[in-house]
Subunit: 309 residues, 2 copies
């Protein structure tokens, strides 16, 4: 695959992966996994989310993780070129993220009215206005920000999400001069041709944008969608170790595309992410052992093919 | 996805899927599954292989299946436009296939010397000469034939399989005027860019070729490789219900790409195979129940997304 942009893996396992698990991961194990991610050479790592700990106990220690990191109470170094990110959903979360000196603050809206209302009790339009205000506040405070559009490729409740709905949100982001944007396929409805079409159309709105993609592998198309996004120029690929993730209230696991599967795929395609896949595999094995279950990823079970074309 | 050729699903579950299972499927159940495949609208169905029943007991009833079909001892009709295929490995198998009036006889060689020797005790060159003689005999007898190149994209023993090795076999097939050719990714080593490159190069040797692809999903790239093969003009896609398959002597399941996952993927891309995915899903559920295990396919677990772009 011909790629002109530098690809960056944004590991979301510690947030999107873990949040769907009811078994709480102790903070020391989270920090160990963070250390493993850093040792494997991943440069963008989502550490947690600043949400209501009563609603999401798994994320209750996000402030404490950053507190320990910021006060050198961890037994490993965070290299200069590693960015730790975290998700916020509202103003209170943003305040906590700012206090935690998060490397990049993530926030977003859903392009599906039903999904938006269920998550925020707001219309898409109201939620977009609010998120842009939060993003501008964070930027004013000197923080890096990435905004997202969730359910950008379809919605489990509504089915098809019109392209115009997504583009309208992007236009509002651009009007506010927010140029780091992620499209998330929350329900896993994306298909490769549409992925390429949508990302290309967004780039045409502003070629100086930095785009990220976030695909769930519900219907087995995760890697195809990643490939299409890369072909459309997307730079950041959000992935989860072992493919962990998915809503615990549905029958079917629907994790993110697995980090090591993406790294392996790219290597097979002649693109070296410089990430040590063997370290990643060990990490996914640890995660699998911790939860005492098989994860959806392929490569942590098979091992990589080492020979190159 | 823009597709100019008509795509044909060649279901291989009853052969490639079952042959890796030690639990013998009774002939009546195989016939029931065959009926389900026909009812779901699949037009090319691989029914079994004519191999040594002592080596592969699961395939021991292949002659009997065809015998019942040919003598109207089944309780469903085989429509005119359905082709039943079967695999042969040697002259004895070919004789049985001819006696069984197989709709299309499949045979092949491996492009990997190690794989070839382990399977046939012959070099690739010797095996190719033999297969071509067998194919020409079958054609002379009035049979349709498809020849294949196994390990065409890499080999579990040798790693990389040089492109020249594959092309050399194809040239010999073409010299014998055999134009139905399948490339099989026996080890699952294929990657999408190379798939496109190799198929395109083969088409350039003779644009009147009919090409088929056969991908195992060992490293999660099965559907990406199917997509690339289609983009390169490949017409026949060999798939297995539920993604069943893979060697029982390895730790990791490495089935074919799942039929219903491919049908669903194509539908998402706006390509209607006219196959009834709900029937297929019911079949894969039956197969899963029979073997009392989860199969690798996605869609038989999630169900399809019905809404269309």
């Amino acid at each position: 695959m011909q790629v002109n942009q530098t690809l960056i893996i944004h590991e979301v396992g510690l947030r999107d992966g873990l949040q769907s698990e009811t078994q709480i991961v102790p903070i020391d194990i989270k920090l160990k996994w963070l250390e493993n991610l850093i040792n494997s050479g991943i440069k963008f790592i989502q550490v947690g989310s600043f949400v209501n700990p009563k609603v999401l106990p798994q994320m209750a220690d996000t402030d404490e993780i950053f507190n320990r990191i910021n006060n050198n109470q961890i037994n490993f170094a965070i290299p200069e070129d590693v960015t730790l990110t975290a998700l916020v959903l509202n103003e209170k979360g943003l305040e906590r993220a700012i206090n935690s000196k998060v490397g990049k603050i993530l926030m977003g809206v859903s392009a599906s009215e039903t999904h938006s209302y269920k998550n925020t009790r707001m219309t898409v339009s109201e939620a977009t206005t609010r998120i842009i205000e939060m993003a501008m506040l964070a930027i004013k405070e000197g923080f890096e920000v990435q905004v997202s559009v969730q359910s950008a490729f379809g919605c489990g409740y509504e089915g098809k999400v019109p392209k115009e709905k997504v583009i309208a949100i992007i236009r509002q982001y651009l009007a506010a001069n927010i140029k780091n944007i992620s499209l998330a396929d929350t329900a896993g409805h994306a298909n490769p041709t549409y992925v390429k079409e949508l990302f290309k159309e967004i780039y045409q709105l502003d070629p100086t944008l930095t785009l990220a993609c976030h695909f769930h592998n519900t219907y087995g198309l995760g890697l195809l969608n990643v490939q299409s996004a890369i072909q459309a120029g997307v730079k950041y690929i959000e992935t989860s170790f072992g493919g962990l993730g998915g809503c615990p209230f549905t029958k079917v696991a629907a994790g993110n595309v697995a980090t090591e599967d993406v790294v392996h795929f790219l290597k097979r395609e002649g693109i070296d992410t410089t990430i040590n896949i063997l370290n990643l595999i060990e990490l996914s094995k640890s995660v699998s052992n911790f939860f005492q279950k098989e994860l959806p990823g392929f490569i942590y079970k098979t091992g990589p093919i080492f020979w190159q074309k």
